[in-house]
């Protein structure tokens, strides 16, 4: 059985005029210890997917579909039961390490909270475990850090503290939502290496969310590309990177800057911008920006089409191709 199986996940948000679907029929699959990247622009629904998995979608959102963690449907659980899963079996780290820690509590307290909540540790035992966790995320002088406040740490150190907090509950699945976007390039690299090492060592599953294909390629085996609240292509990272099937996937991959391409190769871009929530075309969500769009694309939503083992894409143009 897979660690995580998401089927037809749909999140409808209330807007000025009726509802808009931030997620529309998202399917995801992750084996125990597996790593899955979710790529897309802002507004593609990747962060909403993460929040929906955590059961933290915004108030007023209507959620449908199925999220099975080890076979247990999370959407069927009550608030209290979900509290027991969050932090213990599912953990999440966020994009903004500067604001994701509580400014008025010490680092030790914030890690200790998870230990008390999910592992029944308190006092000296909790302090010792928190110190070990800080060592685990390679922070120097952990005993001193426990007494520090977040404002006394750098961005990279705070993100390491966030990771230590996520590890504290010994989760089966770690969701990382753009964990390095707000950090310096050199720090990014080290944080990604750390996440990779920890996922391997602890045997955790990983969902890495990023707008940057490079980050996904470094950390994940499989990738799901999202656009307009839907998964438009999925497959093994190397495969998708080498032969993207969906025009949006091609655009995303071509838009990754590479060294040595020279001046001649100007950076490719995808024309236009992602429409606002609720303003997507009736057919394929990408139709308005797609260089190859045909009439059918405007009218009908393309279904996911298998393209070989573990590969699939949702594009009308794939019919014609062999």
């Amino acid at each position: 059985m897979s660690l995580l199986a998401v089927r037809g996940l749909t999140v409808a948000l209330p807007t000025g005029e009726g509802e808009a679907r931030a997620l529309d029929g998202v399917d995801l699959e992750l084996a125990a210890g597996g790593t899955l990247g979710i790529v897309g622009e802002s507004g593609s629904g990747k962060s909403m997917t993460a929040l929906a998995l955590m059961g933290l979608a915004p108030a007023g959102a209507r959620i449908a579909g199925k999220i099975a963690l080890d076979g247990e449907d999370l959407l069927a659980l009550g608030e209290r039961e979900m509290d027991r899963i969050r932090g213990a079996r599912l953990a999440m780290i966020f994009q903004e390490p500067m604001t994701s820690l509580n400014p008025v509590h010490r680092v030790g307290q914030q890690i200790g909270e998870v230990l008390a909540l999910h592992r029944d540790l308190a006092g000296g035992a909790a302090r010792e475990e928190a110190r070990r966790l800080l060592e685990r995320v390679e922070l120097p002088r952990p005993a001193r850090l426990l007494r520090a406040y977040p404002h006394e740490l750098s961005g990279g150190q705070r993100q390491r503290v966030m990771i230590a907090m996520a590890l504290a509950g010994a989760p089966d699945l770690l969701i990382a939502d753009e964990p390095t976007t707000a950090l310096d390039v050199t720090v990014q690299e080290r944080i990604l290496t750390l996440i990779n090492d920890l996922v391997d060592a602890e045997g955790m599953g990983l969902i890495m969310i990023s707008h940057d294909f490079g980050v996904i390629a470094r950390t994940c085996e499989a990738v799901a590309i999202m656009y307009g609240g839907r998964v438009v292509e999925r497959g093994p990272v190397a495969d998708v990177l080498a032969r993207p099937a969906h025009p949006y996937a091609r655009g995303l991959i071509e838009a990754v800057p590479r060294l040595g391409r020279g001046r001649a190769g100007r950076l490719a871009t995808i024309a236009g911008a992602m429409p606002a929530l609720g303003a997507f075309p009736a057919g394929c969500p990408f139709a308005d920006r797609c260089p190859q769009a045909e009439e059918a694309c405007q009218l009908q939503v393309p279904a996911m089409r298998p393209l070989g083992p573990a590969r699939a894409a949702a594009c009308h143009l794939l019919e014609a191709a062999p």
Partner: protein, 315 residues
């Protein structure tokens, strides 16, 4: 932290000096002869002149001001013109009532406001929020003296649970003394609580949008625990500021409430002193109230540093 403390202490002293100068200028230098004010316009010229000499009004203003401050430093404020007793004695006796009254009203208001404000924020845009906001609107609209009268009518006259007013003194025992303060405290606290509830609610809503609240939920903390452990303390920063400011309102409120409930406190003393044109009492009483408000706000500045560790290094 030390620089923060020193800065606060300096600004505390400067505010106190500023307040005393302002009071002195308003009461003794601005047009209008204090001696004439005290005796009334019909008083004979000789009596006014005698009082002027008695009060030292014939001396230059800076000298009089320094004399006043030097006297305060020795704990001497002079004799009350109407009561013919040392002003300091009068105050000591009255503060025993007014200070507990004001602080109890602030405490009750804070308790009500934090409870109601957190509740309203956690039920944002739902019935509970709407209910709290309506109640606070009502509390703001009702003047405290009117609420005081209503409370007297209901609890003293209709139900007969308490006396309509008066204060037996602390010598009568804690029970009866506190009993006499219940209605005045409630009447004073409702307006304060209504203002503060709105501040607590909006501060809480603000903090609820912060990223670290989402982190707390992601750790597995329930809504209630997140509110108590992560939201409340961060929301207290603006709330404590407003509490300090409201303390001035509470002190001003005691003047009205002590008259409604005929409690022999500072408020009633000031009210009487103004009617009797007892300049020495008015001058010192106003400075004392100002000093109390300044001390409370100094304490608030210190509280910031306790609540928010970032304040300790910011200055």
């Amino acid at each position: 932290m030390a620089t923060y403390l020193i800065r606060r202490l300096i600004s505390f002293c400067l505010t106190l000096v500023g307040a005393s100068v302002l009071i002195f200028v308003m009461l003794e230098i601005l047009p209008g002869d204090p001696a004439l004010t005290m005796l009334g316009v019909d008083a004979p010229e000789s009596a006014v002149a005698a009082l002027r000499a008695d009060l030292g009004l014939d001396r230059p203003a800076p000298e009089r001001y320094l004399d006043w401050i030097a006297g305060l430093a020795r704990g001497e404020m002079g004799l009350s013109f109407t009561y013919q007793v040392p002003v300091a004695e009068l105050f000591a006796e009255r503060l025993e009532l007014t200070v507990p009254l004001a602080f109890a009203a602030m405490a009750l208001a804070s308790l009500l406001a934090i409870g109601a404000g957190l509740y309203a924020a956690s039920r944002h845009n739902r019935a509970g929020d709407w209910g709290v906001m309506t109640a606070s609107q009502l509390g703001l609209a009702i003047p405290n003296f009117w609420l005081g009268i209503l409370l007297i009518v209901l609890f003293a006259l209709v139900l007969g649970w308490t006396k309509a007013g008066g204060f037996p003194g602390w010598e009568a025992g804690i029970g009866p003394a506190l009993g006499a303060l219940v209605l005045p405290v409630v009447a004073l606290a409702i307006t304060l609580a209504s203002i503060l509830t709105r501040v607590v609610r909006s501060a809480t809503l603000e903090v609820l949008r912060e990223d670290f609240v989402r982190t707390a939920r992601a750790k597995g903390l329930g809504r209630g625990r997140t509110l108590r452990r992560h939201v409340l303390r961060n929301a207290m920063i603006p709330v404590v500021t407003v509490m300090g400011l409201l303390f001035a309102d509470a002190m001003a409120g005691t003047i009205v409430i002590e008259n409604v409930f005929s409690l022999p406190g500072m408020g009633k003393l000031i009210f009487g002193a103004i009617s009797n044109r007892d300049l020495i009492v008015v001058k010192n009483a106003v400075l004392l109230l100002a000093a109390l408000v300044i001390v409370v706000n100094f304490a608030v500045d210190l509280l910031y540093a306790l609540i928010d560790p970032r304040v300790r290094i910011r200055d």
